[in-house]
Symmetry: C2
Subunit: 439 residues, 2 copies
């Protein structure tokens, strides 16, 4: 039986999980891959923790298990990348800076397959990496970069091939979903829920990218490339986070039988792709509304086979690692026939202001007679039908109420708000919150 | 670009859907498959309906679109199976009799890939077909045979390869699930719900195999082979249907925050595989409890990546067809490297009486003082801990009540019932219903 030799760069949470699965399942994996999958070497600055945590032999580590200087680590990486004895390199260092980008390119140029969970790198600089891989006939495996354990990449790339994808929506950030679930179920404010997320290990010390929607945005960019064949960057995407969601917003969601979720959404309409990442009011009849805590979920609507939902772990050491190992097995089986890209498309990417959704608008206004009339008249003037006007909170001397619309564009909603402001500049106490309603 | 030529045998609900997708998505599929996928010929006894329903050219049909006699159809099939101009044959005739089995074997022997949705054929006679395929280096694609549109076959075969499957549970029969959902949500008896299922097109004229659990059993047999590498038949499997479920049972489920679902279940414990198909009380905290109507769902628990749930359409013409076309694309991409079987195993299959579950036992007894004591004492005598004793219905002169246990074997439950019967032969008015409780 032939062998495929594997090196792992970085042996933290993800790399360590990969090393452990490759070691524990060695025989089973070799049967599945029809070849020996040999973990040859690991580069890690501080191997001691990994050796203990993942129960790995010190001999696997470059340097024999001792701490490495940055210069040493770089030299070992350089050696492995150019070694004739390595076939697949697992990049588990992270980041999207020049150094890791150059390493990824070098891996491809030296004709090694690259497997990674690095969503930021692929979303921000993926084109260069895929181009280098294509030029050198190697494969980039990135199942683990989107929703960790959920095999959404292979599901789109290899399973939904007898169909045509119409839309993708999903809960792709566990930290945000944990916080929103806590706010919803325990009637907490954002800050209290974030505190609990930190305490429970569901939020990092700096949770910015999780909370502001960028982490989810990176995942959506990768899925858009995969499903629709177009390259966009985070700047093209309209991304909003959950920092400003409060108890009242959740109350308004409840009033229309919905829950607030941070949703990644992309939809094909004719030759156009619309996409956004933002908090949405997800109707309770939609399965995504039932997905709580750190769990991730993706809903795909296909032309012929309709609605599909995949639910699973969106984070975790072994969860992410299992997807990386699955990529290794897939490469072992099929690399000779695999392609990084099976799609051609000339879709154009559309600014989300032309997005048609039913919208929820939450108004924070002065509490004066006639305010509801002013607001609803302005909304009507933009040709927007109103579905529901929510219960008015009358907090102190302000009015807090919601307007749920039937489907219209974001542009129409924004125009309505402009009209309210121009007819009475003092009436809006805050910028109204606008959230799509997802059925 | 090279071509792969396809023939379809049978152009009803499934075959017609395949013909339509192959025609409508021709260009997109050729890009995805990196080769031309040419639908060459269709054999169908009564082409007229299919031509209209699926908008197909009459020239595709053997005989040019006219009705065929059985003898003619057999001759055309024979021709296509042995034609040098055909690479892949889609079997959409159905049945598991000798004739279709021989056709499947002949397809393999004449070195053509076989793609089918025929669960009964694969579950009952799959070994012979896979052996023939392996001997002739051809692939059997059968994604559509389990839960139609849900890509559970490829998910297990190609996506969960970096992990080790611990258990599979699922709602794999849409008719049963529609009936149980109706009973639950509209407080109907089984017969009324069945009538509605027929009216809505969710039950066939003869729904026996859907209702008695055999259709679900066939799917589970295929998944057990795939996930655990062992061949079992429907006789090995303990299969119970939903015919005897009534309103009261649903009431007892509600009392323990559960819904009754027809569940396919298989679990690996050490070297043993336990499996069953039967109505279970699925806790509301389990996603499967939320899956209503004709929708199918599969839950897979993996060693490293934990819980996964896939939800989608379990039936339908284009839904099933999309999975068949995905198999065709996969074969086009990878057939040179594909295998029908990537697993080796020496698991043994275990009689479900040794299954450990929490169980719900529904007792229908004479209504005499001391009955609860007698029943619960007998249960306790078998070393079973009782979790809940349900509200006693006291219907006329009988007592109808439930006992929910903590985890124990079916054997223990059956022994307890034996003990009740022997201590007072007249006390049990009916055979108690035993349903596992699924968390």
């Amino acid at each position: 039986m032939k062998s495929l030799n594997i090196a792992i760069l970085g042996c933290g949470n993800v790399g360590g999980g990969v090393a452990r699965i490759l070691t524990e399942l060695k025989e089973e994996l070799s049967v599945k891959a029809s070849c020996n999958l040999e973990l040859k070497k690991i580069v890690e600055l501080y191997p001691e923790n990994s050796i203990k945590r993942f129960d790995l032999p010190a001999g696997l580590f470059c340097g024999g298990g001792r701490e490495l200087t940055m210069a040493e680590a770089d030299r070992y990486i350089e050696e492995l990348v150019h070694s004739d004895d390595i076939d697949i390199i697992v990049e588990a260092i992270g980041g999207s800076g020049d150094s890791i980008y150059r390493t990824a390119i070098d891996i491809c140029k030296s004709k090694k397959h690259l497997v990674t969970a690095n969503k930021a790198l692929l979303a921000e600089r993926g084109k260069g990496i895929f181009d280098a891989a294509n030029e050198n006939n190697v494969i980039v495996g990135y199942e683990a970069s989107v929703c960790a354990a959920i095999p959404i990449v292979k599901t789109i790339k290899e399973c939904f091939t007898g169909d045509s994808i119409v839309s993708i929506s999903g809960i792709m950030n566990g930290t945000s979903n944990y916080i929103l679930s806590k706010m919803q179920n325990e009637n907490l404010e954002f800050k209290e829920a974030l505190k609990m997320a930190r305490k429970e290990g569901y939020a990092e010390a700096d949770p910015t990218l999780d909370i502001n929607g960028y982490d989810a945005g990176h995942k959506l960019i990768i899925l858009i490339k995969l499903a629709f064949g177009i390259n966009i960057t985070i700047k093209d995407l309209s991304v909003k986070g959950i920092e400003n969601i409060n108890k009242e917003d959740i109350g308004f969601a409840t009033e229309i039988d919905s829950k607030i979720k941070l949703i990644c959404y992309a939809k094909r309409i004719d030759g156009k792709i619309y996409a956004t990442v933002c908090p949405m009011m997800v109707k309770n009849s939609n399965f995504l509304s039932e997905v709580n805590g750190p769990t991730n979920a993706v809903r795909v609507i296909n032309k012929y086979s309709g609605r599909h939902i995949l639910i699973g772990s969106g984070a975790g050491s072994l969860e992410t690692a299992s997807s990386i190992v699955a990529d290794i097995v897939f490469i072992a089986r099929y690399s000779a026939k695999m392609k990084n890209d099976f799609k051609k498309s000339d879709f154009s990417f559309i600014n989300p202001s032309h997005f048609v959704f039913p919208y929820m608008i939450i108004f924070d206004t002065v509490d004066i007679p006639g305010i509801t009339g002013l607001v609803t008249t302005s909304v009507g003037n933009q040709d927007i039908n109103i579905d529901t006007v929510g219960h008015n909170r009358h907090i102190k001397d302000k009015a807090l109420f919601s307007v749920a619309t039937t489907p219209c564009t974001l542009q129409q909603v924004e125009n309505a708000i402009k009209e309210i402001r121009s007819s009475n500049p003092k009436v809006l106490l805050k910028e109204p919150k606008i959230m799509p309603i997802l059925y």
